[in-house]
Structure formats: C-alpha cells, structure tokens
C-alpha cells in the first residue's frame, strides 16, 4: 500500500482534468493561483500516462500534481514573485527543484500566490490578488507561501512547493491545516529560487500528510554545485524510515514558547499533543532557549539587509519592468523601482539599506549577526539533551484580511515561533493538531537537529497516524 495520499488509481489526464475543473470552481473565491496553464498541465499529464502504459514510470512522484510558488523558476512559465516589477517575466531556465521534479515525472502546475518577494505573513502584499483561507474566506491563509497552503488545503493540487525564510512554509501550513516542512539550510538547492534573504531561504514541501512531504523531499534534496551553500551529503532514505517501527524520542518543550501570549486554544491543542507523545513512551523535558525574545529584531535586521542587496538586481535594466517616464540611467533605476515594488518590499529595502549604511553597520547588522550566534547556540545546547523540540507554530489563529496591514510591527511579531529556526538553520515542520472553537485549524511545530529530517518526519508520522486531522478538509467549498 502506498504511504502517500497521491492519486495513482485514475489516469493522470483524468485526474488533471478534475483538478482543473475544481480550480475553475473554487478560484473565484480562494485566489490561490496567479497563473494557470491547463493545456501545458494536460500535456505533462499525458506524458505521464504514456510512461505508465509503457511500464516506464519514474517512481512515486510520477503524475503527481505539484503547485509551484511564484518565485521558483520553471522554464517557459511566468515568474512574478507576486510583484509588479516582474509582471511579464518568463523563466528562461529550470530551478534545481523543478529539474528534479520533472525528472521524477511530477506535473508542475500553475503559479501560486505569495506575499510580494515572500515578504509578509498573509499574502496581502501580493500585487495581483488576495488569497482567502479555505477554512474561512474572511481570513488570510498566512504567508508568504499562502497560495501554496490554500491550494493544497482546497484540493487544487496534490502537493506544493513553498519557500521559508522566517516561517513562510510553516505558518501558512498551520493556518490552512496542512503539513509543511522547512528543511535544514543547505539540504535543498536554492538554484532558481528568486532570492529574498540568502542565508535564511530554503525550499520545502507543503502537503496533506507527512508521507506526502517526505516523498517530495526525497526528490528535491541533495547536492547541487550551482548553489554554493548546498551541502555535499548523501540523501537519507526518508520513505524507508517512515516504514520502520515507531521508537520513542526525547522531546523538549522550550519554556519561552509556552507563554501567556499564546492563544489558550492553541496552547491546549499543543499540550494535548505533548500528552500523546508521553503516552507513547516519549520522555518530555522542559528546555530553555533564553535568546528567543531577540529573534525578531535579529531577523528584521538580517533579512531586510540581505534583501536590500539581493533585490538590487531588479533595476529596470535586464529583466524587469522599466518606468516609461525614465529619462536617464539613474531614473531607470529609481523610477522603475519606485513604481515596481509594493509598500512592504520598499519598507524592507529601506530598512536593510539603513542597517547596512555607513555609521550604522556595526550597531545593527554586525550586532544582529552576533546575537544570531547566541540563538543558534541555544538550540545546539538544547539538542544535547533532547532529539526534537515541540512548540506551537503560531501564537494566534489566522487573522482577518486587512486586520494588520497598517501595523507592520504587529505583523512581524506573529513570526515569533518560526524565525529562530531559520536563524539557526534547523529543520522545522508544522502539522495540524486540532481545531479552535471557530473551526480554524491549529498547527504545532516540530524542530529537529541539523540534517535530522528523518527523526522529525518519524515523530510527526506517529502523531498523524493516531489522529484524524489529516483527513479533515474545509467544508462548503464546492457548491
């Protein structure tokens, strides 16, 4: 029996047609996709059917319909980063992950909405559209990979690619009731990913179940010489590890993550998960990550600083929209960027430029990098005693569309439980662990040792197998 939920029974073309029809029905209300090319997807599906008929299937991902976040290059497909400045850009090459998935026979389907250049926690900074949470259309799906999370939750693809710089896979996964995995920094090549903050960015799977995510990770992980931070290590057999018998692990609960600032329903759901693990023989231990409170200022110095450098390439010269009013080279830069970037992207580029500017570099950027060391050391110390950390993914339920757009600092504070993981380069997984009284899904986060995705996935699977959350779907979507 297959471990994954991928549909292998029907013909791939029939499955693709059904997904296209479902998108046509749901997209006016959800808005997960910036772009869809049904003809292209059906051609990929037909090729998969042909392989299957010829007995030449490429493996468990052959014919699986994968949604793609709109910052990952797929040759010949548009790529906008949900920004006006890349409104008409078409990728001339494949990202490493796109190459890998194509090589495994997956169907790369559509371009999924996101916060502009992945800067945001709600998909509201997209130039093109708002995405609505399939569980409550008045609320955001989270971000920045909100389109990916909403599309998976609403059944508009079987699994999706997301990217995570400060929680952009895990927070929308929690908000939309799905599983999202941010791998260890360096496990998945960033070649062909539009860069936001290069020392933090990582591509990962967002799927309905732990095994679905493991199956995709199996394909996309591994060394790639085109990304100089890609780790030169063999890829473990994740799928094999999921079939091994359950074994208790030592679970740490960082006390800084279980405070009064967390919604009581979320705390209760995560505490129930702790009791589940205890009942399975896991040792539970309180640990401390004393520098947790500094993670947000560190992140919001480092990420904008790196972004201000990375986004310098969008200058109206080589591949971005050029202002029609620009009369000289300087105006091509300033006017194209002034017109092309949205307000959150400008805010972060300004913040980053300031933090790196002469006279302020030591006070902000260098100091933040030093505190980053302290944050990473906190985790390494905790992992001397435990195998996995268990925390809430978010302090609150999904917020309403428009609720936080005018208060950037309050939006930034929502990232408190996810960003430390990026600063320390660790793997982190969010999975559903219950529902609030209003019917909104709740996510819990498992954090692993560097490169120990195997323990993370196995620990998550033990919980998933004993609960019904993976089969829960948003109701009332299809009329």
């Amino acid at each position: 029996m297959s471990l994954t939920t991928f549909d292998t029974a029907t013909s791939v073309v029939e499955k693709m047609r059904a997904i296209i029809a479902r998108c046509d029905e749901l997209e006016p209300r959800i808005g997960a996709f910036i772009h869809r090319n049904a003809e292209d997807a059906l051609m990929q599906a037909a090729a998969s059917d042909e392989r299957r008929a010829a007995g030449a299937s490429l493996g468990p991902m052959d014919g699986v319909v994968v949604g793609v976040k709109d910052l990952i290059s797929v040759k010949g497909h548009p790529l906008s980063c949900a920004s006006r400045i890349l409104e008409s850009y078409v990728s001339p090459y494949d990202a490493h992950v796109a190459e890998k998935l194509k090589g495994a026979g997956a169907i790369l389907w559509g371009r999924l909405n996101m916060d502009e250049f992945a800067m945001g926690s709600s998909c509201e900074t997209s130039f093109f559209q708002k995405t609505h949470n399939p569980w409550d259309l008045e609320r955001t799906p989270g971000g920045s990979s909100g389109g990916s999370a909403a599309a998976v939750a609403a059944g508009m693809c079987e699994i999706a690619l997301g990217s995570d710089t400060g929680g952009s896979i895990r927070q929308p996964a929690a908000y939309c009731g799905i599983v999202g995995l941010k791998p260890t920094y360096g496990l998945v090549s960033r070649y062909g990913l539009a860069a936001f903050a290069s020392s933090l960015d990582q591509i990962g799977p967002m799927g309905r179940t732990v095994a679905d995510c493991a199956a995709m990770l199996q394909v996309i992980a591994g060394h790639d010489e085109r990304d100089s931070t890609s780790l030169k290590l063999p890829v473990p057999d994740y799928m094999g590890a999921l079939q091994a018998p359950e074994a208790p692990v030592k679970i740490g609960l960082p006390k800084e993550y279980f405070t009064d600032g967390v919604d009581p329903e979320i705390r209760a759901a995560v505490n129930a998960a702790v009791e589940f693990y205890r009942s399975r023989g896991c040792e539970i231990k309180e640990v401390s990550l004393p520098h947790t409170e500094y993670a947000i200022p560190v992140y919001y110095i480092i990420a904008p600083a790196e972004a201000s450098s990375n986004l310098a390439r969008y200058d109206g010269v080589r591949y971005t929209r050029r202002s029609p009013d620009a009369k000289n080279t300087y105006e091509v830069y300033c006017k194209s960027r002034g017109e092309g970037f949205g307000s959150e992207v400008k805010r972060r580029i300004l913040l980053g430029s300031y933090a790196l500017s002469s006279g302020y570099y030591d006070a902000y950027y260098l100091r933040a990098q030093k505190v980053r060391t302290l944050i990473r050391n906190d985790f390494l110390k905790a992992f001397e005693d435990v195998d996995v950390l268990l925390t809430p993914t978010t302090p609150h339920h999904p917020f309403r569309i428009g609720e936080k757009v005018d208060d950037p600092l309050s939006m930034y504070l929502e990232d408190i439980f996810t960003i430390s993981v990026n600063l320390a380069g660790l793997p982190g997984l969010s999975m559903p662990c219950g529902f609030g009284s209003s019917g909104l899904p709740i996510g819990m986060q498992l954090i692993g040792k560097p490169l120990d995705e195997t323990t993370l996935l196995r620990t998550a699977l033990a919980y998933e197998n004993a609960h019904q959350f993976k089969s829960a779907r948003p109701k009332g979507l299809v009329r």
């Binding site: 008409s88 850009y89 078409v90 001339p92 920094y185 360096g186 020392s199 933090l200 010489e225 100089s228 931070t229 520098h291 500094y294 200022p297 560190v298 919001y300 310098a312 200058d315 010269v317 080589r318 591949y319 971005t320 050029r322 009369k327 000289n328 080279t329 300087y330 105006e331 091509v332 830069y333 300033c334 006017k335 960027r337 002034g338 017109e339 970037f341 307000s343 400008k346 805010r347 580029i349 300004l350 913040l351 430029s353 300031y354 500017s357 006070a363 100091r367 990098q369 030093k370 505190v371 980053r372 060391t373 302290l374 990473r376 950037p408 600092l409 600063l423 320390a424 380069g425 560097p450």
Partner: protein, 97 residues
C-alpha cells in the same frame, strides 16, 4: 546603537535607488522609527566576545575547476529585457553628445 535613530529618509531612499512620494516618505519615516526603537532591545546583550554568524551552515569557500561549458543562449538571456536591440539590452544614453 544611537540613542535616537534619526533616519535621513532621502539619503536612505537614494542608497536604495527607490523614488518615493512625499506621502511614502512621511509614512516610512514613522513606521521605520517604530521598528528601529524595537531593535534597540539588542543593546541589552553583551556580545563583545561573540563571533558573528553570516549563516547557519558550516560551509566555507567552495571551489570548482574553471572549465568552459555551454551557457544560456543570448536570446534567452535577453528575452525579458524591457528594451533590447541585436541581442543586447538597451539603456538611455549615458554620455551626452
């Protein structure tokens, strides 16, 4: 960290090469001031003996052989350029006649 971070918004916008409207300058000045105040809490920590982390992975310089290999076609390289001519990107004249 400076006591009262005074942002010269015109200077920063110029460094970032972003043209801002007067309204944007007003809004960003207020919002960034608030965010920088929040950053001041990093001053509470003594980091004098701490090494900075540029990133989390223990990866250092990566070398490869300098071997010529095929690259992208010129047509693909300039396919997204807003203005182009003869396989080259076109920009406004830099040197006046």
């Amino acid at each position: 960290m400076p006591d009262k971070p005074a942002i010269d918004i015109d200077h920063v916008a110029n460094l970032a090469r972003i043209e801002l409207s007067p309204e944007e300058k007003r809004v960003y000045l207020a919002q960034l001031g608030k965010v920088l105040d929040y950053f001041a809490r990093l001053d509470e920590l003594d980091v004098s003996n701490v090494e900075p982390s540029a990133h989390a992975a223990p990866v250092y310089n990566v070398w490869r052989e300098d071997v010529p290999a095929p690259t992208m076609d010129t047509a693909d390289v300039v396919m997204n350029a807003p203005q182009k001519r003869n396989g080259q990107v076109l920009m406004p004249r830099v040197v006046s006649e």
